[in-house]
């Protein structure tokens, strides 16, 4: 086995480069590390030797020594979800441009997974963390606080967390929801179904309880509910718990719930969906009920996509600036890592209602 006593090791170190160049380890280190004095002649020799051996600095060793890893940790609900994938792309693009790489972890909305993810990132000594946290209450943020206490800057993305005074990059969820519902109201609708998502067992009967439930759940869900209620209030339309769906917005559940709303004596004539799965689920329910949009029921949903535009008729949707969301979060984090004093504010990005053809007046009018 002649390949076993290879002369050039697979992963040459600074010492090997130094030996190859016939200089001291320190000289090779200074040349390769780009610090301190090295004469032009020796520099050439070292560089040539490094090139010959294919030397590449061990970033881990460097990080242990310097204390910085040039790595960002990213914790999302689900990297397979197109929304988060888009956010991730924004994070990835801007951090790479600034010389940082990223470790991504998905939590699937499980707080324990999130805690574990934070620990992984602490262990790997990332320079900062971007997180779309599933945490809500004061008692659920210990892991994030722990990272902060260790001096690791954290930026929230997509979801603010009330009990955490941190930079957060989000969209104007409340405004977006209100705008969408207003559009529906302006078209003449009063029975507007809200395809919502907190994991409550059943829809609270009163407004007060509803709001309370909202604050016990994901910030985005709470904001979108408030926006829905805002629009209803402005138009003096009373809130009806029968028109609100609760629980995970999986396509199946949405389909069943929307079917229920559609079967009500005083049935829903418009639907506002707060997620992509909610839209596709609603569409399924419509078809099953033999109803067509916008003729029988109007529809507006969150998260525009190429598909929404080619539907027949094309769907009116809320477009979120996904890339910007990630990019901005990375910018804020990178600035903090760079030494800037964190603003600890909410950076609110504008969403956009893309008006197409899924809204029309209710049947009777």
């Amino acid at each position: 086995m002649p390949s076993d006593r290879d002369e050039t090791p697979a992963q040459p170190t600074i010492s090997e480069v130094a030996a190859e160049a016939g200089v001291g380890r320190a000289t090779a280190a200074r040349t390769l590390g780009g610090y301190g004095y090295v004469s032009a002649e020796l520099r050439e020799r070292v560089l040539a030797a490094a090139d010959r051996l294919g030397y590449r600095a061990n970033a881990l060793a460097r990080s242990v020594s310097t204390g910085v890893s040039h790595t960002l940790g990213v914790i999302l609900a689900d990297i397979g979800n197109p929304f988060f994938a888009g956010v991730m792309r924004g994070i990835s693009d801007t951090s790479r441009a600034r010389g940082f790489d990223t470790i991504v972890l998905s939590t699937y909305e499980d707080l324990e997974e999130e805690v574990a993810a934070v620990n992984v990132l602490i262990d790997k000594r990332v320079d900062g963390v971007i997180i779309a946290s599933t945490a809500v209450g004061r008692g659920e943020v210990a892991h994030i606080q722990a990272a902060l206490d260790r001096g690791i800057p954290v930026v929230l993305v997509d979801r603010a967390v009330a009990s955490l005074d941190l930079d957060a990059v989000v969209i104007d969820n409340r405004d977006a929801a209100r705008g969408a519902v207003e559009t529906l109201i302006e078209a003449g609708h009063r029975r507007i179904g809200f395809v919502w998502g907190p994991p409550a067992a059943q829809v609270p009967a009163t407004r007060r309880e509803l709001l309370a439930e909202a604050s016990r759940n994901l910030w985005t869900d709470g904001e979108r509910l408030r926006g829905y209620l805002d629009a209803l209030d402005d138009a003096r339309i009373p809130f009806d718990p029968e028109l609100v769906m609760v629980g995970r917005k999986t396509e199946d559940r949405v389909t069943r719930e929307v079917a229920r709303m559609l079967a009500l004596p005083d049935r829903t004539t418009a639907l506002f969906c707060t997620e992509t799965e909610a839209v596709t689920g609603a569409l399924r329910a419509l078809r099953a009920a033999g109803l067509a949009y916008p003729r029988d029921v109007a529809l507006i949903g969150f998260d525009d996509s190429a598909w929404a535009a080619v539907m027949d008729p094309p769907l009116t949707m809320i477009e979120q600036p996904v890339h910007r969301l990630g990019a901005k979060a990375a910018e804020v984090l990178l600035d903090t890592i760079g030494g800037a004093e964190p603003a600890r504010t909410m950076h609110t990005l504008r969403s956009r209602l893309v008006v197409r053809s899924s809204v029309a007046p209710p049947p009777g009018s």
Copy 2:
């Protein structure tokens, strides 16, 4: 500033734990590292001290020492693309389950970016690499070979690379394409448009040149072309370059190209699209031309999604096992890292034609 001379450092080290516990550094290290002898009593003391200080081992330092990082590098064309996001999810799920984390990089189909990405991963000393490479020719794989030479195992995903004898986890692209086109032919179509994607300037006029062009491009594109040709051959339908589109499958370009095929004297009556953007682009062209599917033109595309199912009529699509693709790639890589001898074969996963309602006989029949 009393917080400055903090007694408990933000990121305590083994030495600090040892001091706190009143034992030697080595004893603390053995306890925390879980190797060698430690008496029950001292172990307790060390553990208690570690707990008090909130000790978490520095994974980077450990990696420098042990030579393994428990980190996988993943290089994809675009993490923002739902297909790759799904693959990434598969990779992420199975590697996390085995104690590995992942660093993801997007290349946007740029070879230089890919080379840079490999270097980043080499520098960060990942234990293995999964890559959906944009490399094709023998002259484009030096960076991958370099990683291999350094002893870093590499597994290809989605795209095989002819000049690289490595494990590759892919789907049966050729079969899938042939099956789809056969379905179209069986419905009676003979003028089948192929919305393809190699970045050639124009469609080669002859079969021979076309095949040559195919081998100069992404493996997936080549395979799908071969499958298209296979089906045509079996049915003795001559290949017509006018029915093939070339160049990046962006929605705009697809729309224009499909419009062209639709305007041909002997126009296209069926379309086979090799990517999601190709499908949405085709749909736009159909609408612009005032044509409906499946009545005026039949349609089959790659990459099923929830949207395709709720279209009206619902689309017949090829479903790729995205999660499995990533999961399998991670499994193969992890096994290799674990010491298994790499099989260096193509692991071909089955895709599935999800038959819905976008295929009907051509208008005339």
